[in-house]
Symmetry: C2
Subunit: 226 residues, 2 copies
Amino acid sequence: MTALPVQGALTAPAEDCLKAIYDLERSSHGAAVTTNDLAHRLDLAAASVTGMVKRLADQGLIDHAPYRGVRLTESGRRAALRTLRRHRVIETYLVQVLGFGWDRVHAEAERLEHAASDELVDRMAATLGDPATDPHGAPIPTREGGIAEGPAGRALSELAAGERGVVARVEDEDADRLRYLASLGVVPGVAVEVVERAPFGGPVSLRVAGESRLIGPQLAEQVMVV
Amino acid sequence: MTALPVQGALTAPAEDCLKAIYDLERSSHGAAVTTNDLAHRLDLAAASVTGMVKRLADQGLIDHAPYRGVRLTESGRRAALRTLRRHRVIETYLVQVLGFGWDRVHAEAERLEHAASDELVDRMAATLGDPATDPHGAPIPTREGGIAEGPAGRALSELAAGERGVVARVEDEDADRLRYLASLGVVPGVAVEVVERAPFGGPVSLRVAGESRLIGPQLAEQVMVV
DNA sequence: GCGATTATTTAGTGCGTACTAAAATTCGTT
DNA sequence: AACGAATTTTAGTACGCACTAAATAATCGC
């Protein structure tokens, strides 16, 4: 459909793209984001991304060096953080107020973030007491566009046997994985201890709330611990 | 933008169009809805409506007799009522839970109704105790697609001097008018008495909560009283 | 009943978003 | 340094949704 973005004039696909660039830039510590990475993240053909990227560059939201990748401009970063704030406030509201499971809010927020006004998001945030993080432990940007992007700790897969910590953030949008992690008790705020770590990308053996748990290496990468 | 409708595969403009057809069919007591009426209601060029109408007819949501107008099919009616339910539940939630003014919820709901899932709407409705009407007095369709479309009383403009009644519904989506009516105390549930009615489409003189009020004829048409 | 007005549809355009297939560029390796 | 593989962009297509201008059908008034 022709979506009706509430602010600026950004379409939903454009907002999604900016969000993805923000995230990939962050997880690559500021390196330029490639077309391919974006295509994978957004589940689009690479050629489609090139088209989107051109439009965003025309609007001054990103800098695009052909064949070299893209980078957010200051105004692109602001737009990305606005969308991220919407997304995370909505996710938190759905879990805390409306009783959604944490594994199901992502898809819902993914649509609502493009339709909700700033006022609605601010009212939701106020109801929640202006929380600093969403249900997955991700920081929520402020109304003014600030964000507390700490180092966010280390991945569970990097801890050595015997190390302890508290789950700070779970970097995953896949409902099945989130549901599985929740069933193991691995959610933000919970204390964990690495009992054993098999080498060469083997599984991680954990102690969570007195129970013994085994987590595969891919999953362990997405769980950040402090 | 290319919007991402949650159900079926209906785009936001298509849902808006079905809703408009439903409403116009109802207010014309079942007569076929003309392209022109739709164009005015949706604020589109007539030619754009013809295009939309064709697509909806291809999908079996409406019957279109060229040059003769359109009618909802059973499945079109169901789709319209789904959207109407979303819209009205969201409006009610925004007013009752999030403290929005009744004059500002329409635009917000107009966008959210295309993004919210059935589950979200049902949870909102449950939180509100499954209300029967929205803040403007309009009936909310049930989850199953039923709706209590009573005669909804008579318009304020049809009452004779001396008649009394209770405001049941205010048929208006214009924020300014709603704000004005609210400032006069004319909201659903309030008792009113017509003191005098000037002939030939003149203003209506009212008594509302002990105060004397004057309302123009266009506005008086939109206030339904029982 | 026929002409003029009005309503509606068709024709042609543009924009955004997606796609596949082909061309261009960059990168890695020998 | 140069070839081949991978990545990226261009070219061409399609669809939805909007528009204006022109053609066609229905309706109203005499």
